[in-house]
């Protein structure tokens, strides 16, 4: 998904982040590129994503 600077400004309001105009383009580029890549991942392995639990690989232990 290609996000505009205005999209980013509005999204940032949700987390109460006031991004100065000078940085909006860079944030939009970074976020858009990540979302585009996730789109591609969904297209390629989306069904597999549905079938796996998102367990963080952190080796927790059970004390009791």
């Amino acid at each position: 998904m290609e996000l505009s600077k205005e999209d980013v400004r509005n999204l940032a309001k949700v987390v109460e982040l006031n991004i100065p105009d000078a940085d909006l383009n860079t944030v939009a580029l970074r976020l858009s590129s990540l979302l585009l890549l996730m789109d591609r991942i969904e297209k390629e392995i989306g069904d597999e994503l549905d079938r796996v639990d998102p367990i963080p690989p952190v080796y927790p232990r059970e004390e009791f």
Binding site: D23, L31, R61
Partner: protein, 493 residues
């Protein structure tokens, strides 16, 4: 010249001399302090140098050893810590100017264990701001590669890699979320280990990518690396995710050959990519060495490895942002470096549904990596498809779509992130030099908690080559820049 020889010795060599009382910890600390004074005005590998405290501790170690209370191979050995790892009263700056100290009086367990072993804290190493690896401007000076200062020293635990390579300290502790230990080890020609997640306590590291952050050593040899990891590893009640598994004696498994060892060469992180000719040559030669030691090497495909870079940005960076936004980013936007703040801001805006999908993706990548370990004892990969870049090309400046492809999803990340999100141990081992005298490395990964095999392969390879015996000639590589740096400082005054 004697001091230079001493400075570049391995910990094992220095420890042998200390134990025999042929050198004292005071001599060693003074040698390093003298070299830092001479070279670090150009190299910028330190933020804080604790000269007085280090001399005091060295005298204490000297007295203990004189009385026959030798604690072991790290007694009297100077170490540095990435300035993201807390050290009690010594400030932890995070290479940020937001506040002078983020440490809140904590001492990281890894640091504490080195101190208990008798090692001497020499100071805090420079890093990319907050360890995020995206700095454009450096508040404490831009670290330089001691082999060739025109080339990058890689990202994040940069000062740790530079200082060990330049003979300014014996070992430094770094932090690796995606490749922050292995990257600086690669570019500076030293050994760097990302341990299995849970092998080393995270307590006292100022880091918030809670599913991936690791603390590990950068050293000049594999044996030194194993010694330091063994000292800092093990369960810590202060880190609920640290493992209770016993820590093996890594060095006991070292052999000069690798007969019967099955190694998988990950094609997506090596020969399946377009490689720089010097990297391709280096890889061919490294594989020949491994085969000559008795190992079998087969190509193995990890088809999902290519997803690792966006999956990490869409998960671990969001975990970091969840803390940074409230604590610092809203209030101190302008005091952050532009690379750090725009990276964290982008992560802060990732929808939760996408974060959760990306976490599922990480599980798939990990499953694929673990499946490969059912067939292979260790996996081999490059650290990068190209040698270290010219300094100006390595900066993560994102102004255009082309910058995103070239700088954000660069090939070093493609090589290190798959093992990071799988949370398996991985080591960067020096394996050659370019025509410009810049180091290159291969990467060896092993099953979770099987650092023993990782070190065994790395050690046998290292001993069959001579790369670890080479050190930068600072008079030639840094010397010409010293006068310029002095003139600039005088001009600034």
């Amino acid at each position: 010249m004697i001091e230079e020889k001493l400075a570049y010795m391995s910990i094992a060599e220095q420890a042998a001399l200390i134990k025999k009382k042929e050198i004292s910890p005071v001599q060693l600390v003074d040698a390093y302090l003298g070299r830092i004074e001479k070279w670090d005005g150009v190299l910028h590998s330190w933020i804080t140098v604790c000269a007085d405290a280090a001399r005091r501790d060295a005298k204490h170690a000297e007295a203990e050893i004189a009385k026959g209370n030798y604690r072991g191979s790290l007694h009297g050995i100077p170490f540095g810590a990435k300035d993201q790892i807390t050290t009690g009263e010594i400030p932890t700056t995070m290479a940020s100017i937001i506040q002078p100290d983020f440490g809140e009086g904590m001492t990281a367990t890894a640091v504490d264990r080195l101190l208990q072993a008798g090692a001497i804290l020499l100071g805090k190493n420079n890093l990319h701001e907050f360890g995020k690896g995206s700095s454009v401007n450096f508040h404490f000076g831009e670290p330089k590669n001691p082999w060739n200062i025109a080339y990058e020293p890689s990202h994040s635990s940069t000062g740790s890699g530079v200082s060990v390579a330049a003979g300014l300290v014996s070992v430094s502790l770094g932090e690796d979320t995606g490749g922050s230990i292995r990257g600086p080890a690669w570019a500076n020609g030293v050994v760097g280990t990302r341990p299995t997640f849970g092998r080393v306590s995270r307590y006292g590291g100022i880091m918030y990518a809670w599913t991936q952050d690791t603390i590990g050593p950068l050293t000049r040899t594999v044996a030194d690396n194993a010694l330091v990891l063994q000292t800092i590893a093990g369960h810590d009640p202060k880190d609920p995710l640290s493992s209770t598994r016993p820590v093996p004696d890594y060095g006991k498994q070292f052999t000069e050959e690798l007969s019967g060892m099955k190694l998988g060469l990950v094609t997506e992180m090596s020969v399946g990519q377009e490689l720089h000719p010097e990297v391709a040559r280096m890889l061919r030669e490294a594989l020949e060495v491994l085969k000559s030691l008795g190992a079998t090497v087969e190509e193995v495909s990890l088809s999902k490895a290519k997803y690792a870079v966006p999956l990490q940005f869409l998960t671990s960076d969001c975990d970091v942002a969840s803390v940074f936004v409230r604590k610092w980013l809203r209030k101190h936007w302008a005091k952050f470096d532009v690379g750090t703040r725009t990276r964290i801001a982008a992560a802060a805006l990732v929808p939760a549904t996408i974060y959760a999908r990306a976490m599922r993706g990480r599980a798939l990548v990990r499953n694929e990596v673990l499946a490969a370990f059912r067939k292979y004892d260790a996996l081999i990969a490059l650290m990068n498809f190209v040698p270290p870049l010219k300094l100006e090309d390595s900066v993560e400046k994102i102004d255009t779509n082309a910058d995103v492809a070239a700088r954000m999803f660069k090939s070093r990340r493609i090589c290190t992130y798959p093992f990071s999100i799988a949370n398996v141990p991985a080591i960067s081992v020096p394996s050659g030099f370019t025509a410009e005298h810049v180091p290159m490395s291969i990467q060896i990964a092993a099953r979770p908690f099987d650092e023993t095999t990782m070190y065994r392969v790395a050690h046998a390879y290292e001993q069959a080559t001579e790369w670890h015996r080479r050190h930068p000639e600072l008079e030639k590589t840094v010397g010409p820049a010293l006068g310029k740096a002095a003139r600039q400082m005088a001009g600034a005054k």
